[in-house]
């Protein structure tokens, strides 16, 4: 069950079979071995990602949100198989069938890489400083033997135009560009193989505010034009609100809550989500926020509290929360929460 047939997504008509569940992740887990240290770590395993499930429909933008150590980046890396998951299932819909991403052998995986690409956070370290723009954007095309010579250069020029980069910069090196422009180079590179899914890992976090709007608009335009699907990892909630259609909130490697974006922001069901929304500073002096900031810190994955990982910081924690870990429950269609009291709390 390793090989699959190349299928072109550009121009594929949208219908029920091709839109739903482009990517389905079930029970994803990633463990790292840990040594005991005198800082309190127990020996055994660190679960960076713990039983995470979600799906993305074609053409959608799914936000993956959380603070440091929540596992969002590791989740994305597992989906791309840049990191090998410990457990779980990752299914990618190819036309009418689902491809089991974890079962792909080396050659099939290489083929498969055309379908899922990555845009990195740091435009300064994600481009090889010794390669020209042409070489950087052409690299995936060369590696996969997609085009050569004149055709290759034309394709690169096309891509540069798509992302708003002047063609004249073909032979320049990354250091000649601003952060925003470098990010455009990274986006052009990600588009080179006509992927179906793009993982944007904090793609605008390192950019100046005035540049963020440009890049976000560009990503949206590309989505419209090429029918792209995004897994959008971010920590800035206002960007998430603007850009995504659904959101998964992660905490300490687990899914805290997932919902349609509008619903999540209007009516969070997990205390952590509520705290996250309340914590973000608003560019509005008139905004009165009556909340007390959440105390404590995100737990060390090597030293997790028992029960619900959020209980030490949760204003609503009970004894049950300290001993019994809540499972992710579907409260309503499309609304998942891992809290014993989901729906009962005044958040």
């Amino acid at each position: 069950m390793g090989r699959f047939v190349t299928c072109h997504y550009i121009g594929t008509p949208l219908n029920a079979e091709t839109t739903h569940n482009l990517l389905t992740v079930t029970g994803l887990t990633k463990e790292y071995p840990a040594r005991a240290t005198f800082f309190g770590r127990k020996a055994g395993v660190v679960r960076a990602v713990d039983d995470v499930s979600f799906h993305i429909d074609r053409g959608e933008s799914l936000g993956l949100v959380g603070e440091s150590g929540c596992g969002k980046t590791t989740t994305a890396r597992c989906v791309l198989r840049a990191v090998e998951p410990t457990a779980g299932q990752i299914l990618f819909r190819d036309g009418e069938r689902d491809v089991d991403v974890r079962a792909l052998d080396r050659n099939a995986l290489r083929e498969f890489r055309k379908y899922m690409q990555l845009i990195f956070q740091d435009p300064y370290s994600s481009l090889n400083p010794r390669m020209t723009v042409l070489e950087i954007i052409a690299e995936p095309l060369i590696v996969h033997g997609v085009s050569r010579g004149r055709e290759l250069k034309d394709r690169v020029r096309d891509l540069m135009k798509q992302v708003g980069l002047d063609e004249r910069y073909l032979n320049r090196y990354p250091h000649a560009f601003s952060g925003g422009q470098r990010q455009r180079i990274g986006i052009a590179r990600a588009l080179a193989l006509n992927p179906a899914l793009i993982v944007a890992d904090e793609a605008v976090s390192a950019l100046d505010v005035s540049m963020q709007a440009q890049i976000l608009n560009l990503l949206e335009e590309l989505q419209d034009e090429f029918g792209l699907t995004y897994l959008f990892i971010a920590h800035d909630l206002s960007v998430v609100r603007h850009f995504t259609t659904r959101v998964v909130v992660m905490y300490a490697g687990r899914v805290a809550e997932s919902a349609a974006t509008e619903e999540l922001f209007a009516n969070p069901l997990h205390p952590y989500t509520a705290a996250l929304l309340a914590s973000a500073p608003r560019p509005d002096p008139g905004h009165q926020e009556a909340h007390v900031p959440l105390s404590g810190e995100v737990p060390d994955p090597g030293n997790m509290p028992g029960g619900c990982p959020f209980h030490p910081r949760c204003p609503f924690a009970t004894d049950r929360c300290k001993s019994e870990r809540p499972e992710v429950r579907e409260i309503r269609p499309g609304r998942q929460v891992s809290c014993h009291f989901a729906g009962e709390l005044e958040l």
Binding site: F39, E67, S68, S178, G179, G180, Q181, D208, V209, S210, M211, Q212, A213, Q214, L216, N217, E220, H235, L237, S238, V239, R241, H242, F243, T261, E262, F265, A275, L276, L277, A278, S279, A280, P281, R282, P283, D284, P285, G286, H287, P293, L294, S295, E297, V298, D300
Partner: protein, 344 residues
């Protein structure tokens, strides 16, 4: 104890006045005018914000006030006046104090303290946090070791570090990110400075930690009555913690007023564009209104107003030639550097 910057009583006598400050970096490729003639004032007990994007010169401004501008940077012109109190009419020009002089060392860390974005680079990795805080205390008025240690422990406790009497002997790498930031604040405030400069203090932190640190700073500011110069690129941080704000662009201040005014009625096209381009948590926009183009290169010689190439209101023949517009008081206590308001 949460204090609202908008209602806290703010005195109107200055603690710091910066006059026509110019900081240049002499590089092989040319001169970078990182700070290109700025003037502003921070009042006693006030939280003044300095906002701008990367390369605008806000951090170099802070470094100039602390006299820690890295080589090859140099303060080439201007005055940085630090006042004792209401009765001090003249102030001391920090820019003119000789390097390594006892006067300067007394100001730096004593009258004015600074906290940075990255606490790991503030702390020495080979000294305990307590030793470093004590060093600051003993260098600024309390030479006794025992008493200095007590102050250090009290301060660590005051900033919310649990088990402060044990943590005082920890190394910076043993503390988590949030704790390190708190320890850095403890070190800065242990000498009871009259002014604190905070250079992107929460940018590297998670959003829930950011909220804690900002709340802590507000409490401490109210308790100690000190002034704060808050440097950031985040308009949300400005809105929540500052009384006044100055907007910097390419080495110059382009707008300066109270926080309420800036968000309600921004005058400068750059400020307006910035406010319009950020996504909001309250609702989902259609497309974001973006600012076209990008900040000029550091070595570029831009005629006229540095923002003209990106400005929707630029007047050809006026904004793109000659000297850039001066910062003028357009409305009561609302300053802007823009030719659009010239005729008024």
């Amino acid at each position: 104890m949460k204090t609202d910057p908008q209602t806290t009583q703010v005195q109107t006598s200055p603690i710091l006045t910066v006059e026509d400050l110019h900081v240049h970096f002499q590089l092989d490729q040319g001169v970078v005018r990182a700070v290109d003639g700025i003037s502003f004032q921070v009042n006693q007990g006030e939280v003044a914000g300095l906002i701008g994007e990367s390369g605008c010169g806000k951090s170099v401004t802070a470094q100039a006030v602390m006299r820690i501008v890295p080589k090859p940077g140099k303060i080439v012109e201007g005055r940085i006046l630090l006042y004792e109190g209401e009765d001090d009419a003249e102030g001391v020009d920090v820019a003119k104090l000789p390097r390594n002089s006892p006067e300067l060392r007394s100001v730096r860390g004593g009258d004015i303290s600074m906290i940075f974005q990255e606490p790991m680079t503030t702390f020495s990795p080979v000294h305990t946090v307590g030793n470093q805080i004590m060093e600051a205390i003993r260098g600024h008025g309390e030479p006794d070791k025992e008493r200095a240690r007590k102050i250090a422990v009290d301060m660590l406790d005051r900033v919310g570090i649990p088990r402060a009497d044990e943590r005082v002997d920890a190394f910076a790498f043993q503390l988590s990110g949030g704790m390190r930031q708190r320890a850095m604040i403890a070190m800065a405030l242990a000498t009871r400075p009259r002014m604190l400069i905070a250079d992107e203090p929460t940018t590297a932190l998670d959003v829930t930690m950011q909220a804690q640190i900002l709340a802590l700073m507000k409490d401490l500011q109210a308790e100690f009555g000190m002034a704060i110069l808050m440097i950031t690129h985040d308009l949300g941080v400005i809105a929540e913690s500052c009384h006044r704000v100055s907007v910097m662009y390419w080495g110059k201040i382009v707008e300066s007023t109270t926080v309420k005014e800036l968000f309600a009625k921004p005058l400068h096209p750059y400020t307006q564009a910035l406010l319009e381009s950020i996504p909001r948590m309250e609702k989902r926009e259609g497309k974001l209104k973006m600012i076209r183009g990008s900040v000029p290169e550091p070595f570029a010689k831009v005629p006229g107003c540095p923002f003209h190439a990106r400005c929707d209101h630029a007047i050809k023949g006026k904004c793109d030639v000659g000297a850039p517009p001066e910062l003028r008081e357009i409305q009561p206590d609302h300053w802007a550097a823009c030719w659009l308001y010239e005729s008024e």
